[in-house]
C-alpha cells in the first residue's frame, strides 16, 4: 500500500511537470535559438516588439505613478466602504480580458460613456496606440494595486508613529519610511503587473485592434502570424519565455535575498558586543 501510494505521487508529479515543461521545451526544440532570435530582427515581429515596449512602458509608468500613492492611501486609511473599494479594484482580475475590452469600449468608445466629451475635445481613443496603453493599464493595474496595498500594510505602523514624533510630516513619512520599507513588495508587484501587461491580448484586440506598427503588440502578432509564418510566432513566443523567466528569477532572487537578510539578523543578533 505504502509503495503503491508513493508510486502514485511520483507518477502524478512526473505527469504534471512534463505537461508544464514539454510545450515550453518544444518551442526551443522546434527551431534553433539563433534562428528564433534572428526572426525578431525584421518585419512584423520588430514592429510588434516596438509597439509592446512603448505601450507597456507608458502604461506601466502611469500605473506606478498613480497606483503607488493610491495604494498607500488605501493601505493606511480606514474608512467606511474600504472593503468595497478593495473588492472593486480586484474585479478586473477575475474578468475575462475580452470583457475588459468591451468595458473600455463602453467607457471610451465613440458611442461610449465619455465618447461625446472626448469627441468634442477632438480625442479619439479606440484603435489607436492610446487604446493599447489604456487596455494594458486597465488589465495590469489590479495586480500592482493588490501587491502594493499589501506591501504598505506590512510596514510596521510603529515606525510611522516614530517618524511622526521625530517631526516628519506625511510626505516625509511616505518618502523616507513607507516607500523604502515597502520597496521589496512594490518591486514584486511591479514585476508581476509588467508581465501581465506585456502578455495582454483580449482587451487590446477588442479595444485597440491589431494594426501592425500601431496597435499590434507581441501577443497580437503571435496570433496574426501563427497561420502565415509559424517560425515568427515561435520566435516571439520564445522571447516571451525568456522575458518571463527573467522576471521570475528576479522575483525569486529578491525573495531569497530578503530571507537571507532576515536570517542574518535573527541568528547573528550582534557583531559588536
Amino acid at each position: 500500500m505504502r509503495v503503491l501510494f508513493a508510486a502514485l505521487l511520483a507518477v502524478a508529479t512526473a505527469i504534471a511537470l512534463a505537461f508544464l515543461f514539454l510545450p515550453i521545451a518544444a518551442i526551443f526544440l522546434r527551431v534553433p535559438p539563433g534562428d528564433l532570435f534572428g526572426a525578431l530582427g525584421h518585419g512584423v515581429a520588430r514592429d510588434a516588439l516596438l509597439v509592446s515596449i512603448k505601450t507597456s512602458a507608458i502604461a506601466h509608468v502611469a500605473v506606478l505613478l498613480i497606483g503607488t500613492p493610491a495604494a498607500y492611501l488605501l493601505a493606511r486609511r480606514r474608512f467606511r466602504g474600504r472593503g468595497v473599494v478593495l473588492t472593486l479594484i480586484e474585479l478586473p482580475l477575475v474578468l475575462p480580458p475580452a470583457v475588459a475590452g468591451i468595458a473600455l469600449l463602453a467607457a471610451f468608445g465613440r458611442t461610449g460613456l465619455l465618447g461625446g466629451e472626448l469627441d468634442a475635445l477632438g480625442i479619439q481613443i479606440p484603435f489607436t496606440q492610446a487604446a493599447v496603453v489604456l487596455a494594458v493599464a486597465f488589465v495590469e493595474s489590479p495586480f500592482y494595486f493588490r501587491g502594493a496595498i499589501a506591501a504598505f500594510e506590512a510596514v510596521d505602523g510603529t515606525l510611522v508613529d516614530a517618524a511622526r514624533t521625530l517631526g516628519a510630516g506625511p510626505a516625509r513619512v511616505f518618502l523616507r519610511v513607507a516607500l523604502p520599507l515597502a520597496a521589496g513588495g512594490l518591486g514584486a508587484a511591479s514585476a508581476l503587473a509588467l508581465a501581465r501587461g506585456l502578455g495582454e491580448f483580449g482587451a487590446t484586440i477588442i479595444f485597440a485592434g491589431s494594426l501592425q506598427g500601431v496597435t499590434q503588440t507581441l501577443p497580437l502578432a503571435i496570433y496574426a502570424q501563427f497561420e502565415q509564418d509559424f517560425d515568427t510566432a515561435l520566435a516571439i513566443s520564445a522571447l516571451f519565455i525568456v522575458v518571463g523567466a527573467l522576471l521570475l528569477v528576479t522575483l525569486k532572487l529578491y525573495g531569497w535575498l530578503r530571507f537571507a537578510s532576515i536570517f542574518r539578523s535573527r541568528f547573528e543578533p550582534s557583531i559588536s558586543s
Binding site: 515606525l159 508613529d161 514624533t165 521625530l166 516628519a168 510630516g169 550582534s270 559588536s272
Partner: protein, 342 residues
Amino acid sequence: MASLRVDLSLPLRAFDLELALEAGPETVALVGPSGAGKTSLLRAIAGLSRPARGTVSCADDVWFDSPSGINRRPEERSVGFVFQEYALFPHLSVEQNVTFGGGRADGLLRRLRIEHLARTKPSELSGGERQRVALARALARGPRVLLLDEPMAALDPHTRGKVRAELHDLLRELALPALLVTHDFEDAAALADRVGVLVDGRLRQIGTPAELLGSPADPFVAEFAGANVLDGIAESGPDGLTRFHLDAERVVYSTDEARGRAALVVYPWDVSLARVAADDSALNHLGGEIVSLVQVGNRVRVRLPFLTAEITAASAERLALRPGEAVVASFKATQARLLPAD
C-alpha cells in the same frame, strides 16, 4: 522650568483612561498590569491618539485642549518617544536613525557610547545597543518631554542591570519631564523619582518608591510593589495588637489596626527563614514546605505555600534549603501592614 501637565479622558476598548498628572523635571514611572492604559497614555501625550477630552500642555505650550479645539499633530509636539521594542528604522544606519528628525548625531552617539556603531544597521545591534540608539534618536531634536515605553522590556536579564544604571544617570542629567512606562516595579523604583500605579485606566496611587512600599494605598499596589498579600479576618488582639486569622489554624499579629476582612502585607525581604521557629522577638511564625527557590543575583527568593521570602544567597547556602523541605518563616508584627480588603 518646563513641566508637563496632563489631564485627559481617553476611551479604550474595555474602559476609559482617566488621568491627571503633572511632572516637573523629574522621571515619573507608570507601572501596572498590561492593558492598564499605560502605552495609550504616552500615545495620547505624543499626539498619536486623540483623547475624548482634557488638556495636554508643556509649560505654556498647549498641545491638546478639547474646550478650545486645539490638537497639535505629533510632529508639532516637542516630544522624544522611545517606543517599545525601539521601532528603529531597519533600512537606515544608526547615524541616519538618530538624525532622522534633524540635528547632529555625533555628540549624542558619543554620550551614549555608540559612536563606533554609526554606520551599522539596527538588525546588527544587541538589545542594549538598540536601546541606546532609540534614546539618542528620541533626544536628537532636543525634546522638552521624554516618553519611554517599556525601555527595558526587550533586554535580557544579563544586560538589564547595567543598562538600568546608565539610563538612570542619563535621565538625571537630562532633567526633563520624563514619563516611563513599565510593568516592572523594580525598574520603576530604580529609575523614577515618583511612581504611579495605573490599573484599568485609573491612577491608584502615585508617590516616591519609598512611599509606595511604606504605605501602599491598597492590596493591589502592595502586590505590585512586590509584597506578599494575604487575605484574612482581623480582630482586636492582646496588648493592643491586631490578631489576623489567615484560616482556622494560622494566626499572625500586626501593629496596624483593622477589623473584619482585610489584607496583610509583608515584604519578602522582611521575612526570615529558619529550620525551627526561633525564640526571638518576631511574633509571627508560619511553617510550610518550600515550593521553589529562585536565585536573583546575590539573593534567593524562596516560595512557600503562604508567602515568599527573600534571603541572601549566602543564608540559603548555609541553611542548605531544598524544595520540599519544611521551614519556618518569621516576621515581626511591626512589619505586617494591614489594608482594607479589595
